[in-house]
């Protein structure tokens, strides 16, 4: 048995593993429960053990599940895997290959709407499972040392486990509703973690800002989900048998699968997308108007575009893109390992994951794709420019995350999904390494975060220095490291893919991408140089920095190694079905993006180019990165010391001040959004709540009742003659009424 065969036989048979997929989520959840409820009684070491082993257990299960997705024993190829999971949306012989899935039955249903609790692992979610639990475990391990002296350590580890559980739910979900559960879960856990030191109002505010910004995006996500439900029902009502033939399914089969598994499973949405692209006569396609229902009159393509743009807003909230990126830099208020977890391994990548998962829908709308790419590019550029002038080591890294996510969105928008996911993975490695390295620097320097007051750490913190250097080179895009290949794969794809009718977008985004690459190199080099090189700053808080404990340096080393070796995934070592060389990762993800490829070929909305970058492309990209880095090196090592004591030119100071203040975007939001909303809330509070509800409705009814009661009290005297007088008066009234009636 050679090595390839070894990896094609899962140690646990998929049939056995599939029903246990829920354990991957349940383990960290259980860890969160135990640490949160009993943590204070358990003591420090036990909490560390439980939290770490819960994530480690999830990691082991993830490895097994991931392994099982490539299970091809008994010579039958991928078919073997699917004996127990047939895709109900396809034709009889269409098995889902390279996927491990299990449906735990109805979660809830209302009318003909139905949502199943279904978990699925394919190559896309499998790789994310590994990243989340793997990098997550390293961050847990690191935290055991970093949070050693914190009183709320048990609360911290409970939140951390909760975060991992929510993210695993997000990734494992096989339908949009279950994904939304994880989507909300990470939002809540991030709120808890960012505001972890809640006694400091500024940090509590940062948590709240993240929460509110995320909620805006989540609202858009929900509306988009509802639109998709309506769209699926409109499609099943209007489509004829010919449409289903394109999707490789039959009408009865598709509808019984909908009955069975609900309209929002990703596989079902994929099949609908495939059914929509054929433009033959007498078929439903993207330009067909919807006949009945709430969406009547709109075309399928139009509704799809709107839904995808709303999903983009949702993803912008979670993944910190324009216009909702403002929460992420403030999220630095939380403990540093949390920043690493949120930024690198989990939450912020949710938007990229969502669009990769829905790639089949996204390629139906060039408008949405162009918007995604442009938003990504603009966010990336803006964040990179702000990162130029930040002096807080974590803030620079935070803006760098926003920028790198923007690059991933550029890839998603240009249809080069595999490269976006690859960059997600490599970014998880080197950004986690950078954040944890920054934490180590702070740990050894009395919590100093101002890079102007660090310097010269190279000789004092050797492990931190080495790993930080590797990660910096990786994110900068220096040749043999993974960041170079993943970023270049995206830029190459952006350059060569074309959106139908929007050809200018890919060129514009590509040139912006080059500027971003050079900027990234510049500010990362600046960060590295000011922190580690040169003499030690006179304003340093401690005279000599000390290296951190092994729990902190070991994750750094592992992540640094990973950020080097992950480059292998971008090498064109595999062959595509047409015999051309193909990147390993592209080949690896091709089962996931198969439907997307079929749709782009049929619909011609995107021109996908599968060529591999040439040597010239690599050299060019490398030169761009080197230029940026060299410029920073020149400015900060040679130029500035020579000008020591001389003030910088007025222009440079003005630009720097604007960049330092983040181009006043927060202030702009304050002016055009927050102030009016606050004013409106004030009016509602004073007039509607305090005046109408409290005074008139609540206290008013009580007041009227009391007054009426005290007036009526005088009637209840117990005096029989007074009662008789009332009766007599009533009688008089009756007589008067009768007389009037008679006289008329």
């Amino acid at each position: 048995m050679n090595l390839a065969e070894f990896f094609q036989v899962a140690p646990v048979a998929p049939e056995l593993l599939a029903p246990s997929l829920w354990l991957i989520i349940a383990l960290p959840l259980l860890g969160a429960f135990i640490c949160g409820v009993f943590g204070r009684m358990l003591g420090r070491a036990n909490v560390h053990l439980i939290a770490c082993s819960a994530v480690a257990g999830a990691f082991v299960l993830s490895v097994l599940a991931f392994w099982a997705t490539s299970h091809t024993s008994s010579g039958e190829g991928a078919r073997r895997l699917l004996a127990f999971y047939r895709n109900p949306f396809g034709i009889e012989s269409d098995f889902v290959r390279y996927a491990l899935a299990y449906d735990y039955g109805t979660w809830f249903s209302a009318g003909d709407f139905r949502v199943n609790f279904g978990l699925a692992v394919d190559h896309l979610s499998g790789i994310l499972l590994l990243v989340i639990t793997g990098v997550g475990f390293l961050i847990h391990l690191y935290s055991t040392s970093y949070m050693e002296h914190d009183d709320g350590y048990w609360r911290y580890f409970a939140y951390l486990n909760l975060f991992v559980a929510a993210m695993l739910t997000l990734v494992l979900a096989d339908n949009l509703v279950l994904l939304f559960v994880g989507w909300e879960g990470v939002g809540m856990a991030s709120y808890l973690l960012i505001g972890f030191w809640y006694t400091d109002p500024a940090k509590a505010w940062a948590g709240r800002k993240a929460f509110v910004t995320n909620r805006i995006g989540d609202f858009a996500f929900l509306i988009a989900t509802f639109l998709l439900v309506l769209l699926v029902s409109a499609f099943t009502r209007q489509a004829n048998a010919a449409d289903y033939a394109t999707a490789g399914s039959s009408v009865e089969r598709y509808q019984s699968a909908l009955q069975d598994r609900g309209p929002l499973t990703f596989k079902g949405l994929e099949k609908m997308a495939e059914g929509l692209v054929d433009t033959g006569a007498d078929k439903v396609d993207l330009s067909t108007p919807i006949e009945a229902g709430p969406l009547a009159g709109y075309t399928f393509g139009g509704v799809m575009t709107v839904a995808l743009l709303l999903f983009l807003l949702g993803a912008a909230g979670k993944s910190a893109q324009l216009p909702l990126y403002v929460w992420l830099p403030d999220a630095m208020a939380g403990p540093t390992p949390v920043s690493a977890l949120i930024h690198a391994a989990t939450m912020v990548t949710a938007g990229v994951y969502l669009f990769s998962r829905m790639a089949a829908l996204l390629v139906l709308s060039p408008t949405a794709m162009a918007t995604v790419a442009i938003i990504g590019a603009l966010t990336s550029l803006l964040a990179a420019l702000i990162a130029f002038a930040q002096d807080d080591i974590k803030k620079v890294l935070a803006y760098s995350t926003v920028s790198q996510l923007g690059i991933m969105f550029m890839g998603v928008g240009a249809g080069i999904f595999w490269a976006a996911v690859l960059h997600l993975v490599t970014h998880a490695f080197f950004k986690a390494c950078l954040f944890l390295g920054a934490g180590s620097v702070m740990h050894g320097n009395g919590d100093e975060t101002d890079i102007k007051k660090l310097g010269g750490l190279r000789h004092e913190m050797k492990w931190t220095w080495g790993t930080f250097l590797v990660a910096t080179l990786a994110i900068t895009g220096i040749f043999p490291l993974s960041g170079f290949f993943s970023k270049d794969a995206i830029l190459h794809g952006v350059h060569h893919n074309h959106l139908e009718g929007l050809h200018w977008v890919s060129s514009a985004v590509y040139y912006l991408g080059l500027v971003i690459a050079a900027s990234t190199a510049f500010y990362m080099t600046r960060l590295y140089l000011l922190t580690f090189e040169g003499p030690r700053s006179k304003e340093a808080r401690v005279a000599h920095a000390h290296e951190s404990a092994w729990q902190m340096t070991l994750p750094l080393v592992v992540l640094a190694v990973l950020s080097v070796v992950a480059a292998v995934y971008a090498f064109p070592l595999m062959k595509s079905s047409s015999g051309q060389p193909q990147a390993v990762f592209e080949n690896f993800l091709s089962p996931v993006f198969g439907a997307m490829n079929r749709i782009t070929n049929a619909a011609k909305t995107v021109e996908l180019d599968t060529s591999v970058p040439h040597l010239g492309d690599y050299v060019f990209a490398w030169l761009v990165a080197l230029t940026g880095g060299a410029l920073a090196g020149f400015l900060y090592l040679k130029f500035f010391p020579a000008r020591a004591g001389q003030p910088a030119p007025a222009f440079a100071r003005a630009v720097r001040r604007a960049a330092q203040n983040k181009f006043y975007v927060d202030e702009l939001y304050e002016l055009i959004v927050i102030r009016p909303v606050k004013f409106l809330s004030f009016i509602l509070f004073r007039v509607v709540d305090a005046l109408l509800i409290d005074t008139v409705a609540v206290r008013g009814t009580a007041w009227v009742t009391a007054r009426v009661g005290s007036a009526l009290r005088y009637v209840q005297t117990g005096d029989a003659q007074a009662y008789a007088a009332v009766m007599a008066l009533a009688l008089l009234g009756g007589v008067a009424y009768a007389l009037i009636q008679v006289l008329q």
Binding site: T717, G718, Q721
Partner: protein, 100 residues
């Protein structure tokens, strides 16, 4: 033949006198007598209409009223005597236990 109007006017006058007595007299016994007066005014009305209509419904009603009045007088007098024994007074305005 005396027109029915006179009977009704007489009944109304009797009723008003009875009601006046009920409202203003303080002695419970007098109040009772006034109530009887009102009941008899009603009886007179019944009988007048019975006569006018030429059937016996009014007579039957009058008999019922007399029966009820007799029962009421019996119970009412008993109550008045019981109240007098416990409080030494039959004045209506003194009997206001609900107020306390």
């Amino acid at each position: 033949m005396v027109p029915i109007t006179y009977y009704l006017l007489l009944a109304a006058a009797l009723f008003c006198m009875g009601m006046f007595g009920v409202l203003v007299r303080r002695n419970a016994l007098v109040v009772f007598m006034c109530v009887e007066l009102m009941l008899n005014a009603a009886n007179l009305t019944f009988l007048s209409f019975a006569r006018m209509r030429g059937d016996s419904i009014g007579h039957v009603s009058a008999f019922f009223v007399i029966a009820v009045a007799a029962a009421e007088a019996a119970i009412g007098l008993a109550i008045v005597i019981a109240v007098f024994r416990s409080r030494g007074s039959v004045l209506v305005e003194d009997i206001r236990t609900m107020k306390h």
